[in-house]
């Protein structure tokens, strides 16, 4: 299949492809957003959380979405402009889906204060918009084009190259170091957002002694490393032969854990969980939240 033929075909199919992309985005927003849309604490946070923190979260979501749109996205992007456009669409989808579902659940009703309605939707739109972009990579994994490429094993290099400019999820992920860390941040943010608002995070850390916390840290780091390097998942990262295991451990796993801790800290601060809490207690919260966060970070390296 020549490139020009593909281009011609994709041009003719553009509106349909775009609509399919939108549909996948909406499905992704739903799939990834539903656990949070059905969490009571998040509804409550929607009206009581401090507005400047909510605003910061909404702003921080923008570069993450652009990065995700560029890397996975629900359709092919080649320029920054396109990535921005897709990120924008994903955010919009996130807002729409959140509003729709919250209305469906009767959580938003006519006569509620405007600020409460906006707060609830805005907060839910963050995970939903990430979900919209992830939906493409998770739901559209084997479109026709990609199916061709997958079967075309003998034509290795070519398939990878075409993957780069034909489908939204390229076979070849040009993972530079910064991007790899960013991917981990997205994964950590996504899983943290799921659990951070619940009371359980606070409760668990109150039940734990510092010994438990130490064990949690070691186990989190161990799981992160094992997820990526030991258990052979799809897209497993293999080290060049002869490289000692601790190379990857120092260069990827430990920074990944720090990324996950920073994201946990940011999310907990955003939800006001760290206010007036002693630093040791705050650290315990962060360690507890980093447990799912680090799993999310490791999974992101594999799944995305």
């Amino acid at each position: 299949m020549s490139k020009s033929m593909q281009r011609g075909r994709s041009k003719a199919q553009e509106p349909r492809t775009f609509l399919v992309g939108l549909g996948r985005g909406a499905a992704g927003a739903l799939l990834f957003g539903i656990p949070m849309l059905m969490t009571m604490e998040l509804w409550e946070l929607g009206f009581y959380m401090e507005r400047h923190r909510l605003f910061l979260l909404l702003l921080a979501n923008v570069p993450l979405l652009i990065f995700l749109a560029d890397r996975v996205g629900f359709e092919r992007t080649t320029t920054l402009m396109q990535a921005c456009r897709d990120a924008n669409i994903a955010y919009g989808l996130g807002v729409l889906m959140s509003a729709g579902i919250l209305i469906l659940f009767g959580d938003i009703k006519i006569g509620m204060p405007f600020s409460e309605i906006v707060g609830k939707i805005a907060l839910q739109a963050v995970p939903a918009s990430i979900g919209a972009l992830l939906g493409r990579s998770q739901l559209g994994g084997s479109s026709d084009d990609q199916g061709d490429e997958r079967s075309d094993v003998s034509n290795n290099g070519d398939a990878a190259a075409r993957g780069d400019d034909e489908d939204a999820v390229p076979d070849k992920l040009s993972t530079s170091y910064a991007q790899e860390l960013m991917l981990m941040a997205v994964g950590a943010l996504f899983l943290s957002l799921n659990v951070a608002p619940t009371e359980e995070i606070v409760l668990i850390s109150f039940k734990m002694t510092p010994w438990h916390a130490l064990a949690t840290m070691i186990i989190s780091i161990g799981i992160m490393h094992a997820f990526v390097y030991v258990v052979a998942f799809k897209g497993t990262h293999e080290m060049p032969a002869g490289t000692p295991w601790w190379h990857a451990f120092f260069r990827f796993t430990l920074p990944g854990y720090v990324v996950s801790m920073s994201i946990s800290f940011f999310v907990l601060w955003t939800f006001g969980r760290l206010d007036a809490v002693a630093s040791t207690q705050a650290l315990m919260f962060v360690i507890v939240l980093s447990f799912p966060g680090s799993i999310g970070a490791a999974a992101a390296r594999l799944i995305l």
Partner: protein, 136 residues
Amino acid sequence: MTEISRRPHSERKDPHWVEWAVGIVSALLILTVMAWVGFEAITEEDQSPSFRTTIIGKNAIGSGVRVEFEIDNLSTRTAAAVVVRGEVRDGNTVVELAEATIDYVPAQSKSSGAIIFSTDPGEKAVWVRAVGYSDP
């Protein structure tokens, strides 16, 4: 052929020095956190929660007078469902009694809340203290 072998590896054989620098800084950060938590683990004494309450504000609202308070947990153990009782006393007799429940007062941390009295205490003494809690 496995799927793995079709995918290029992200790990290069000759990593940039920045990767090592980030790795070392991360290792130091994690070791610091572990040392901190480890220190807490070794030195922590098993104390029972002990509280100090302070009244930080009093203002009239529609249904009475709101007395805002802060409650400190001075110990290294967190208390849950802390019941704070407020009393308006005239000499030795309690004129009015009201309660508030605080979900958590974390170890060595502060929580705050308010008690609402239906009558203005005026010059009478207002007492606010914790009367009970549960272990989380």
